[in-house]
Amino acid sequence: MIAEPAAWGPSGQTLPQRSLLSAGVLVLSGLALLPVLALVAFAAVDGGLDRLTLGHEGAAQIRNTLLLVASVGVLGAALGTATGWLTANCQFPGRRWLRIAQLLPLATPTYLLAATAIDLGSRLSWRVHGLGWAVAVLTLATYSYVFLLSTESFAVSGKRQLEACRSLGIGPWGSFRRVALPMALPAIGAGIALSGMEVVNELGAVELLGVPTLSSGILQRWQNQGDPQGAVALALVALVIVSLLVGAERLLRRRSRRWLLGSRGDRLAPWTLHGWRALVAQLLTALPPLATLGLPLLWTAMSWDQLQGESVAELAGLSGRTLLLALVAAGMTMAVGLVLAIARRWIPQPLIQQLTFVAGMGYAVPGTVLALALMLLGGPLGLSPLLLLLWGYSDRFLAVGKGGLDAGLERIPPSVDEAATGLGCSWIQVLGRVHLPLLRGPLLVGALLVFVDTVKELPLTFALRPFDFDTLAVRVYQYAGDERVGAALIPALLILALGLVASLALVPSLDETSS
């Protein structure tokens, strides 16, 4: 069965209800797009769009960004697919824990990974510097996206086909190569697209590793060179790249759904690996999370004698503010995402469909530029920095939170809505009694992803926070930027702890797709 969500709406909807939802979409997508429009308008008014130029450096920054997206995409796809397949369809000692461990990289801020790699490297007389290291760091930091999507695909797809393979005597490798991989390709592609978006937006790690990219170029042009037109030109290039990635992700998810529907149900008994095969599987699944979490922990252990403690009250304040910001941002973002996802399902008008799509484009704008755009908007209106900050988070992470909701809604057949409305439910009742219970999983997963991202988020928080409102990430970045490792230790560990707790909360949803 193939769902066609975009062209369907509950028959019980009355005109005012649709209008209300459409108005909600207009307002929310308007708020999401306003910063980008403000940027362009600012550049146009301030100096004329004819002055938009990429320049000599711009070409190198675009080249590096594309190289990073491609290299991290290929390596992340290999790593995420391998770990996804092994933990979903094979049985070996430690599999359950190693499956959970694939979520650990989500807890580690990329700039922390880069800073620790550089610091440890310089102690060992290694130069951790340049594109190769950036690819390694970003691959470790983002392969989990491919893992999360591919493992779900491997776990629920093609049971009958895999059974057929087994009955024909085809082993795990053959089954993987000939059946499971082709079926999972859309999911893997979607994971690559998500990691690509992270790569385009990455700022701290690439700056520390000395790789000029679009993100760092935008910041440099805007703030260091006082060239907002140049910054906007680069931001528009970033926007195009991320739009392509978002478009690819959506297309692939839709293809993935066509393959997957009708295949859910009983799980296939996993292949049991023994001997060296089990060992290879253990190594392959253990090394990435070990490296991701191990580097900061090793750094911590080796830097313990540099420890400079902040007062307990100071740390409690930093943690409390971080926690509050992340919780409120997660709640707000998921609420906005839910309205847009529901509208996308129920209102088939092309304009609404497009608006719900482009509302996720905030992900394309590097955090610092988004912050500056929000300042341009909020400054004249006298909006409070905290409000701007939450606006920025929702804008930035909407794509992360909404993706799961879209996918979740696509799995609910339209007949369910029809049955509910046929029984006299209004759309609010359909939402409350049918969709929300069924979307509990995607809502929780989305909120946790936004929570983790907000805890780690830097440029927006750095630029928009009000007086005396530092967060853990801000403090770590300031100290790391000042080359004061000891002072950064405890806040860094607290970020890791918060991220770990949130990542581990994703485990139940991972278990749902597991055996």
Partner: protein, 357 residues
């Protein structure tokens, strides 16, 4: 664990969060002094908003000390200098910042050109801050001095061969020099300083010579560079002296302390001296309070704390820092911070055109 069990009473949580958020976000809002207070009114009970490019806990202790002495509360926002400048510019008249603290002369000059400061007239500042370390129109004032010196590994290079910055371009150092990249504003100011002293052609040749001497890709920070020199991976490097002092103090751990003890700090003669400094913002709502804070930070008492926080040099003399005393004395060149800032753009273009990535 099922997802069902994770469900929370959403409304209660939201209400609790919003209440807590309002409490955290709105805390500490006090009546602010109005514009045009002048310096005579009792400012106790007012607030001063500070945007600062410095990030040291000891700075906060200094602000608390100021509050104890004057009753003026200090609200602090620390961030990267360029981001603060941009924020101040976009906030315009709505800015809550009364004082802007920046690191490096070029950034002070940039904020001045963007008209973000207002002139301050203070006999105390004129007395405490040497003329070459403040703006000629009183828009900003230096607070600490920082020297960009050479560090030498004596096993690799004879320290006596480095007498001036020009010596770093000596072909004898081929393959032995390590430099931080051109994005470093400290290096930009060093090149600006040389442009003023030696002119365009000599500075260009000097940059080319140094680039030809480098043995590794340009570093993105000073501490790994200092480690590389100490380990003998490079023979000579150029860093701000406080990074070496920080390593020697043990703040970076025992390993760095041992490493740094093998480094020789060489002050080229004359030495390039940069500053961190501050000015009252153009749209300050409490300019009198900001000026009071500025005077405190520039005074021998406040300035001592500001400099010692980061092993920097005070505005005059060498201070009491034993680590800095061990480095010896230097003769500062006569380039003013104002001149240096004005040459920044030219310096960046020259570096990029001649291979200093």
């Amino acid at each position: 664990m099922s997802l069902q069990r994770l469900r929370l009473p959403a409304r209660s949580c939201l209400a609790l969060l919003l209440t807590a958020f309002a409490a955290v976000g709105c805390g500490g809002q006090q009546p602010r002094a109005t514009e045009g207070d002048g310096g005579n009114r009792d400012l106790a009970g007012t607030e001063v908003g500070v945007y600062s490019g410095r990030h040291y806990n000891t700075d906060k202790e200094l602000y608390r000390e100021f509050t104890r002495r004057t009753g003026i509360k200090v609200n602090l926002l620390e961030a990267k200098d360029d981001a603060l400048i941009e924020r101040l510019r976009t906030e315009g008249q709505n800015t809550p910042a009364d004082l802007l603290v920046l690191v490096d002369a070029a950034r002070l000059d940039k904020a001045t050109r963007m008209n973000l400061f207002q002139p301050s007239d203070s006999a105390e500042l004129d007395k405490d801050v040497p003329a070459n370390l403040r703006d000629s129109q009183g828009r900003w004032f230096g607070l600490t001095r920082r020297v960009r010196a050479a560090i030498v590994n004596p096993d690799q290079v004879d320290p006596s061969t480095i007498r001036t910055y020009a010596d770093l371009a000596n072909p004898a150092l081929k393959g032995k020099l390590c430099l931080r990249n051109s994005k470093s504003v400290y290096n930009q100011s060093l090149v600006a300083d040389q442009l003023i002293q030696r002119g365009n052609a000599a500075t260009r040749d000097w940059v080319k010579g140094m680039v030809a001497n480098t043995s590794q890709p340009f570093f993105t920070s000073d501490t790994p560079l200092a480690r590389a020199v100490a380990k003998g991976d490079c023979g000579v490097g150029v860093v701000n002296t406080y990074y070496v002092a920080r390593m020697l103090s043990g703040d970076n751990g025992a390993e760095d302390k041992t490493l740094a003890s093998g480094l020789k700090v060489v002050f080229p003669d004359p030495a390039h001296v940069n500053i961190s400094g501050a000015g009252v913002t153009r749209y300050a709502s409490n300019p009198a309070g900001a000026l009071r804070l500025l005077e405190f930070l520039a005074s021998p008492t406040g300035g001592k704390g500001y400099a010692e926080a980061n092993n920097e040099y005070p505005l005059t003399g060498y201070g009491d820092n034993a680590l800095l005393k061990d480095f010896g004395t230097f003769r500062a060149d006569d380039v003013s911070a104002e001149q240096m800032g004005a040459k920044n753009k030219e310096a960046v273009e020259l570096m990029q055109a001649n291979g200093w990535q």
